[in-house]
Amino acid sequence: MSVLVDNFDVFAGGLWVTLQLCVFAAIGALLIGTLVAVLRISPVPPLQWIGTAYVTVFRNCPLTIVLFFSAFVLPALGSNADFLRIPGLSSISTRLGNELPYFRFVIIALSLYTAAFVCEAIRSGINAVSPGQAEAARAIGLTFTQNLRLVVLPQAWKSAIVPLGSVIIAMIKNSALAGFFGVVGDLTSSGTNLTSQGGEAIIPVFVGISLGFLLLTVPLGLLLDRVERRRAVGVR
């Protein structure tokens, strides 16, 4: 187990990169997912189709293929995902400034993939709002946007937060794939480097990687359980 102590900085650095990856991808996924959810509930049929097609495609496609696609199609489209190199951000997070584009490709793929699940979580939240609420809002003469903004969405948000949380947990776990796709320095790649190049024993290194991911996922899961239980009490 001395491997863990000796290489503490390696694991800590890996955790830091993975955390950055997760934060950026979560922001992206929440934005895109909300947009897709809006498309799916909009009154315009073609927009609904786009939303449905998006969710169907990304929910049924393995993340690995989405990752390959973002790494092959984006360069073919003439983009190196440079639009993610936002000046302010790259000064805060050193990784974004790095020349290798894989970090940005993985963020894009993770965001796109997770967005489909975010959309479904938000939609299930909207479905959970009792119809009477929206009908009452319409009856007192609120317009569609007012209805959404003042009545439906606040309640939908409340019941969507637990599924959204599990989506984000799943995304954190999925980010483990990044290391196998050329992202240097994240938890997976720095851990596996220790065994393949550093010649360290496998099991302690894996314990380290696992601890890193558990550190990210378990507290979130406990928090969600708590939110869920509190709400269950509150409803009664």
Partner: protein, 322 residues
């Protein structure tokens, strides 16, 4: 969809219908323009639509067409083999785990009256210990990325001197570890979400705790949780794509090989992705169908809200991984 619309909007009048039509036209034009200028044109300019790249995949007269498709078919057969084995394995282990955890919980509530005090204390400590251990294992394996589990199984087992020969088994074991825990939790929450009267009635009939689980709780929970279970199967099927990381010859590894020779990554992945999407889409349609059948068959007499809510929480919302 319709039900949702009726909640959010009134029935459209002439003006709303006109607006919707205008919006639709604008949306279609926008999508077509987006697809043409931002996707089709750049791809065309970089030569992604030439027959040289697509030929091996779509043109039956191409000299490598049948070879390519034979490889892809083999790859999918390998993928489905791994998925099938992993599904059977995780269902069996998951059910056993759920039963075990429910039993342990029942055991924890017993006070072992009638046994001498030290023996009773020992048994209670033992049941507490077993309960904690299983809980810990569930939390750990559920919180670990499935890639890490698979990679760990594939590198650590040979290191420990367990050589399974075929890489298939490492993939199956890794997937089973992760998914059995998830399925176990789905089943457990299904059993715990059942109305308490079911258990009490069975107790009053004189059934033992194990009989109650086997004859009363499990069948009902299976039925309630069937849609969640099927969507978990979609997750298993998607996760088999991780096999390429440990060198299992499934469809992605085959694709990588094809791409090495044909140099058309976008095309090959598009085809493979489309097949994956089709397979999983059919599976999730099956889940929807089953759900509808069940909803019709049983006039939901106040199904406990927990039982309906928990599948999402248990990770069946497609979380899984890849």
């Amino acid at each position: 969809m319709n039900q949702q619309q009726s909640v959010l909007y009134d029935n459209p009048g002439p003006r709303a219908r006109r607006l919707t039509l205008i919006g639709s036209v604008i949306a279609v034009i926008g999508v077509v323009a987006f697809a043409y200028f931002l996707v089709y044109r750049p791809l065309d300019e970089s030569g992604q639509f030439t027959m040289e790249k697509w030929g091996p995949l779509v043109d039956p007269d191409n000299e490598v067409f049948s070879l390519v498709w034979a490889r892809i078919r083999d790859g999918f057969v390998a993928t489905l083999t791994a998925a099938g084995l992993a599904i059977v394995g995780s269902l069996v282990v998951g059910l056993a785990l759920a039963v075990l955890r429910v039993q342990l919980k029942a055991l924890r509530e017993r006070r072992f009256v009638g046994l001498p005090a030290p023996a009773a204390l020992g048994l209670r400590v033992l049941s507490w210990l077993l309960n904690t251990i299983t809980r810990f294992c569930v939390e750990v394996f559920r919180g670990l990325p499935v890639v890490i589990t698979i990679f760990f199984v594939a590198t650590a087992l040979p290191d420990l001197g367990v050589d399974l020969g075929d890489r298939l088994w490492y993939l199956v074991i890794g997937l089973t570890i992760y998914n059995s825990v998830v399925i176990g939790e789905i089943m457990r929450s299904g059993m715990e979400g059942l109305p308490g009267g079911q258990r009490e009635a069975a107790l009053a009939c004189g059934l033992s705790s194990f009989q109650i689980t086997r004859m009363i709780l499990l069948p009902q929970a299976l039925r309630i949780m069937l849609p969640a279970l099927i969507s978990q199967l979609v997750v298993v099927l998607k996760d088999t794509s991780l096999g390429f990381i440990i060198g299992y010859e499934e469809v992605l590894r085959v694709s990588a090989f094809l791409i090495g020779n044909l140099e058309n990554p976008i095309q090959v992945y598009a085809v493979v992705g489309a097949i994956y999407i089709l397979l999983n889409y059919l599976l999730s349609k099956l889940a929807e169908y089953v759900q509808r059948r069940l909803a019709r068959g049983r006039k939901t007499k106040g199904l406990p809200p927990i039982a309906v809510m928990t599948p999402a929480r248990a990770g069946a919302d497609g979380s899984g991984a890849a």
